[in-house]
């Protein structure tokens, strides 16, 4: 390789390749030092910021833990230790059960009647839901009874007041709601509400007919009256709604 002197040429001439000037030591050190100081300051700011966030975060976490702890202890103190369910009383005459209120015994209050609502869950129990549904149904059927009675009296005179048909329209909506409710599982009640819906629809549509309910034809009124009688509506409603409007009669919440 050296026979033609190329390597000697390289060693001689390559030293001149990008020949550096004297090193600017101070100039470069000043820049290095300045850059290091800037970075160090930036790091300290970052660390300080992180420390602040950690402190704030730790404070929030501590407050949360304390709050949950207090809530837990408080709940433990007010929560009933025993819920005693008394059997539903059965009416000897009708054989119908009535809803009962569970006895709640709170710590430190054993054998004493609880304060109203104290320590009880806000969510109603299925039994309470059934009782509420029965009360609503009884109230609705009472109104329907009143409406149907009014209708029969007026239809005997051959005219129906528009207010009666409007009233029927209102009751129609409630009837549909009660039918759609999970509480309408009782077949007897379901059938009663279904028949009531049909009759109420017939009455409500009198208003929509040409000339309004005052001009309803005798045949129309006869048809509705026949529907009422054939379905024995008023009797069935009365048997389902005892005098006084209590949630008894045909409606049983214990089933």
């Amino acid at each position: 390789m050296t026979d033609d002197g190329f390597e000697e040429f390289l060693q001689r001439e390559a030293r001149g390749y990008n020949a550096p000037p004297p090193t600017p030591r101070e100039e470069m050190w000043a820049r290095i030092d300045a850059e290091r100081r800037t970075r160090r300051a930036g790091r300290e700011v970052t660390i300080a910021r992180r420390r602040v966030w950690w402190t704030v975060g730790a404070g929030i976490a501590a407050a949360l833990v304390l709050g949950v702890g207090i809530g837990y202890v408080w709940r433990e103190r007010v929560q009933p230790v025993r819920v005693a369910q008394e059997p539903n009383p059965v009416s000897p005459a009708t054989g119908v059960t009535t809803p009962s209120t569970p006895s709640v015994i709170a710590p430190g209050a054993a054998n004493t009647p609880p304060a109203s609502g104290a320590g009880r869950d806000a969510t109603p129990s299925p039994r309470e839901e059934r009782a509420a549904y029965a009360a609503m149904t009884v109230e609705h059927l009472s109104r329907a009874e009143a409406l149907l009675t009014s209708f029969r009296v007026e239809s005997e005179h051959g005219t129906v007041d528009p207010q009666v048909t409007a009233w029927a329209g209102d009751l129609l909506g409630t009837t549909r709601l009660l039918l759609d409710s999970p509480g309408a599982r009782d077949p007897r009640l379901h059938k009663l509400l279904g028949d009531l819906e049909l009759v109420l629809t017939q009455i409500a549509q009198l208003h929509a007919g040409q000339g309004g309910p005052k001009n309803a034809t005798h045949d129309e009124l006869q048809l509705i009256d026949q529907s009422l009688r054939s379905r024995d509506m008023l009797t069935r409603i009365r048997s389902a709604t005892p005098a006084g409007g209590g949630a008894r009669g045909a409606l049983s919440t214990g089933t």
Binding site: G5, Y17, N18, T23, I32
Partner: protein, 180 residues
């Protein structure tokens, strides 16, 4: 104070120890970066960056090699990365110049042998060029080059041989003038 003690103090953040390490190594680092960059501004930037990185990562230096070798490996890495960026930038500028000089047909003057050699070294692949510059230009041993670049000394020798062969081929037109 020996270098080991300086390193311990520098790791503890003592500015005087950092300065002493800088003074001990800056010349060789600057020469190497200048040879690779061929520009005073770039060489200064690369040297500064090398020392800043070295001081920040001093905790990573385990002492498997000498501090100088470790510092040179940072310097080569910084320089090659920096040159890659500069090359991309210059390529864009060259595209613009080409567009501007479109139609220019004047014949450039034929460079002399020394200038042609510099061009040929510039045109070497980065790996060959680095080994060539370190060995034939800056006088590093193959062991030092191997330690700096993370190669086997044999690989360093092979790369130097290929670099020289490429230069010979690039300068073939000047055969016979080498002995002059």
């Amino acid at each position: 104070m020996d270098e080991r003690e300086l390193l311990t103090r520098a790791r503890a953040g003592e500015p005087a120890a950092e300065r002493a390490l800088y003074e001990a190594h800056v010349d060789r680092v600057y020469r190497l970066t200048y040879r690779l960059a061929g520009s005073e501004d770039l060489a200064q930037d690369f040297t500064q960056d090398t020392f800043i990185r070295a001081f920040e990562r001093l905790g990573d230096f385990r002492g498997d090699s000498s501090f100088g070798t470790w510092l040179h490996s940072i310097a080569v890495s910084v320089s090659l990365n920096g040159l890659r960026k500069v090359k991309r930038l210059r390529a864009r500028e060259a595209d613009l110049d080409d567009a501007r000089d479109h139609g220019w047909t004047a014949r450039r003057a034929e460079p002399d042998l020394r200038a042609r050699l510099a061009q040929a070294i510039d045109a070497l692949p980065p790996g060959y060029r680095t080994v060539f510059v370190m060995h034939d230009v800056e006088g590093f041993t193959h062991e030092e080059i191997a330690g700096t670049l993370g190669l086997q000394p044999g690989t360093s020798k092979a790369q130097l041989s290929r670099a020289r062969a490429k230069l010979r081929a690039a300068l073939a037109d000047y055969a016979g003038e080498w002995t002059a």
